[in-house]
């Protein structure tokens, strides 16, 4: 298949101009300036020399790279909360003053009960902030969930010990510890957290960070992580209009996942964190990003059109076929995919169809063992070629034969279909793809 023609390559001048803008955008989004510096350098390396996609300017092509890198930095998938082998699972909330620990403790308890069928309880270990215990008790009442507290005269270490014991006694499988807000540079209070950690060895220590945090986010995250080895981060107040660059800074300096996002003050406004959405929010170049997305779709559409033309002429090659397979694979399990096509279940040939994902690997291996000429013209195949291909792909000659037959059938089918499309005749159905059982 012919390569989609681009507009030449991204040169250094393009990159220089764009990275200036990207640098500004990221700084305005509160990404730490050191993180920005590293990031921009990486972009420079990656972007120079890239092929520029049709309908994009070189500058936009650079932004495409930026967005990809950002998404990668933010981390691939959503992360989960650890579960203790022996209950209860202990979760400890830590962070600066006013970040949202107490609120998030209650939200998380609610989330785990609703979404994960857990039976959590809360522990009020903030003995410093005025009415911190009242706050957690009120939230516990709203949730109809037990809260362990023991006034403000006790040592927080004793409180968490007793709280965890209560969870064990009453068969709660999860216990969430609310701790007082503290500065990362407050040695005695950081020491107290460490004592609490040593006392109950939490399964999750979650650092709660306000999404509006500025350049200082790196210091905060670094300190808390160094001293407590946090397991993850909760980013609160994301219902605001902050770009939330702190998320990127934290990822860059701790490499710990951001697990949840606080989306409001109410008790059910906690969501699993979506790294990819955060990347585009931080960059804040919505217009350019949707343009890039469109360009990407156009490329895919163009490819589809080319393919359609080939189908019509039935001059499909194995290369096209491989490409199709790749696209299909990137969409997820085949069965799910077919299930999504409206009416697919009712189509005759597809009705009892079963997809064998493992077969796809075989098919790919066979095709990759073919020479260029063989891929374009399967008629070249003779016994010795087939043996060579089977050997090269770790399959059998029968497998190769099967694929060739199916490929041939498919081409015939396409011819039929395209004449149907033009001639509007009623089809017979019953297409058999090479990776179906």
């Amino acid at each position: 298949m012919q390569k989609i023609k681009g507009k030449g390559k991204v040169n250094e001048a393009d990159v220089k101009e764009m990275t200036r803008e990207v640098r500004l955008a990221l700084l305005e989004a509160d990404v730490n300036f050191k993180v920005v510096k590293q990031f921009v350098n990486r972009i420079k390396e990656r972007a120079v020399g890239q092929e520029v996609m049709k309908s994009l300017t070189p500058g936009q092509q650079v932004i495409k790279v930026v967005n990809e890198e950002l998404t990668e930095l933010m981390g691939a998938e959503e992360s989960k909360i650890a579960t203790a082998n022996k209950p209860p699972t202990i979760i400890m909330m830590v962070g600066l003053q006013g970040a949202g620990k107490t609120t998030t403790a209650a939200k998380l308890a609610n989330y785990l009960r609703k979404q994960k069928n857990k039976t959590p309880m809360l522990v009020a270990a903030d003995v410093y902030r005025p009415a911190a215990i009242d706050q957690l008790n009120t939230l516990g009442k709203q949730l109809n969930m037990p809260v362990y507290s023991d006034g403000t005269d006790k040592n927080p270490v004793d409180i968490v010990n007793a709280g965890v014991q209560m969870a064990k006694d009453n068969q709660h499988d999860t216990v969430i510890l609310d701790t007082a807000g503290r500065l990362h540079v407050d040695e005695s209070l950081m020491g107290e957290l460490l004592q609490m950690k040593d006392a109950v060895t939490p399964d999750e220590i979650l650092l709660v960070v306000d999404a509006m945090t500025g350049q200082d986010a790196v210091n905060v995250a670094e300190h808390f992580n160094e001293q407590l080895e946090i397991n993850g981060v909760v980013l609160t107040k994301l219902d605001g209009d902050t770009r939330g660059g702190a998320a990127l800074s934290i990822r860059a300096v701790t490499d710990k996942p951001i697990k949840f996002a606080g989306m409001g003050e109410k008790i059910d406004q906690l969501e699993p964190f979506h790294p990819e959405r955060m990347a585009s929010r931080i960059l804040g170049m919505g217009d350019v990003l949707s343009l890039i997305e469109k360009a990407q779709t156009n490329v895919d559409e163009e490819k589809a059109k080319e393919l359609e033309a080939k189908m019509r002429n039935a001059d499909l090659t194995f290369d096209d076929f491989l490409e199709q397979l790749d696209q299909v694979k990137s969409m997820g399990p085949l069965e799910d995919l077919l299930g999504m096509i409206p009416g697919a279940g009712k189509m005759k040939g597809l009705k009892n169809m079963q997809v064998d994902d493992s077969q796809i690997g075989k098919v790919e291996a066979i095709i990759r063992s073919m020479t260029k000429a063989e891929k374009v013209d399967p008629k070249l195949m003779n016994a010795s070629r087939k043996r060579r291909i089977a050997k090269g792909s770790g399959t059998t000659v029968q497998d190769v034969n099967k694929l060739l037959k199916q490929f041939d059938d498919m081409k015939k089918m396409m011819k039929q279909m395209s004449s149907q499309m033009t001639g509007k005749k009623k089809g017979k159905g019953g297409m058999q793809l090479p990776f179906m059982k």
Partner: protein, 328 residues
């Protein structure tokens, strides 16, 4: 350098313990900033592009904001050229001067506006968790010490434990708190509080409100209504609308200042949590763009951890190490 000496003298002449407190509180913050400033000055003998670039980064790391930093550094570039400054040591006083200038136009606008005839009403606004309630406790203590009769209004009827929190502060400081049940209308609480405070002969009424993000239209409307009710009951009130900003906050503080100013005509800022390592540099940009002065700084969680803001001290804090080094 004469400028530094002058600055130092003026700051030391403010004899009260406040200066020390302010300096102590700022110490941690400023250490890192000043260290960087020093290493910057030591590293570069000449004022060149690299110097300005690093200065840019230094200010950006203090959350001053990209635009303000670029503007400021451009000005400095011009000035360096004009005055033919070659040595980085000589440009530092100019930087300090510029920062002070930007923070303080008149020299004394950190003072609170008090009602000359009757009760002074101060409304506190801001996003969630910045320190509104705590600042009210601290300020109540401050007024009480100068023999004012203070009453607090528990206008946050939404957040769990908010009323109890203010009540604890009232007890600590020894002032009355006017409150209603959780979930009641905050405007009604204000109405009540004004009348209760009057009948108790209060000089100062400090009004707490629920934290709200500035992009929540309905909540901002609610705040406007709270202010209208206060205005209706005391025509000259509120005498101050104080926006509480967390020094840890980055560029979003500008959006906060803009939106809260539009909704409630903010008259001053309280910059909290300056006892941490965050620098709160965004107040420079806010001062510049919206002309809202900083009136107080929060330096901890205790009753007396509140100090009047002074631009010179703020700048002095930034350059403290440098001043001391120069004296050797």
């Amino acid at each position: 350098m004469s400028f530094f000496r002058k600055l130092k003298e003026r700051v030391t002449n403010q004899t009260d313990s406040m200066t020390d407190k302010f300096k102590d509180g700022l110490q941690k913050t400023r250490d890192s900033f000043s260290e960087k400033m020093n290493s910057l000055a030591a590293k570069y003998r000449t004022v060149d592009e690299d110097f300005f670039e690093e200065l840019e980064e230094l200010l950006i790391s203090a959350d001053v904001g990209v635009n303000t930093v670029m503007e400021l550094v451009d000005e400095l570039r011009d000035e360096a050229k004009l005055k033919n400054v070659k040595n980085s040591r000589d440009i530092l006083p100019i930087i300090s001067e510029k920062l002070t200038e930007r923070l303080d136009f008149t020299g004394h606008d950190s003072e609170l506006t008090m009602n000359p005839d009757g009760m002074t009403v101060i409304l506190f606004v801001g996003v969630n968790g910045v320190g509104k309630t705590t600042t009210i406790g601290k300020l109540a203590h401050h007024f009480k010490q100068s023999d004012q009769k203070v009453v607090l209004a528990a206008g946050d009827t939404f957040r769990a434990g908010a009323i109890e929190q203010l009540a604890v502060w009232g007890e600590r400081v020894g002032v009355d708190v006017i409150k209603q049940a959780e979930g009641s209308d905050p405007a009604a609480v204000m109405y009540d509080a004004i009348h209760a405070a009057r009948s108790r002969g209060a000089n100062v009424l400090l009004c707490d409100t629920a934290g709200r993000l500035q992009n929540k239209v309905n909540l901002m409307k609610e705040l406007e209504k709270v202010k209208r009710v206060i205005q209706r009951e005391v025509p000259s009130a509120p005498h101050e609308v104080l926006l509480v900003l967390d020094a840890t906050t980055g560029q979003n503080a500008m959006a906060q200042a803009k939106q809260f100013k539009e909704a409630t005509d903010v008259s001053g800022i309280v910059l909290t949590k300056l006892d941490g390592t965050a620098k709160g540099g965004i107040v420079l940009a806010i001062r510049n763009e919206l002309d809202i002065p900083v009136k107080f700084v929060g330096l901890g969680e205790k009753m007396d951890d509140l100090q009047p803001f002074q631009a010179e001290q703020f700048t002095y804090g930034l350059f403290q190490n440098m001043v001391e080094k120069e004296e050797d």
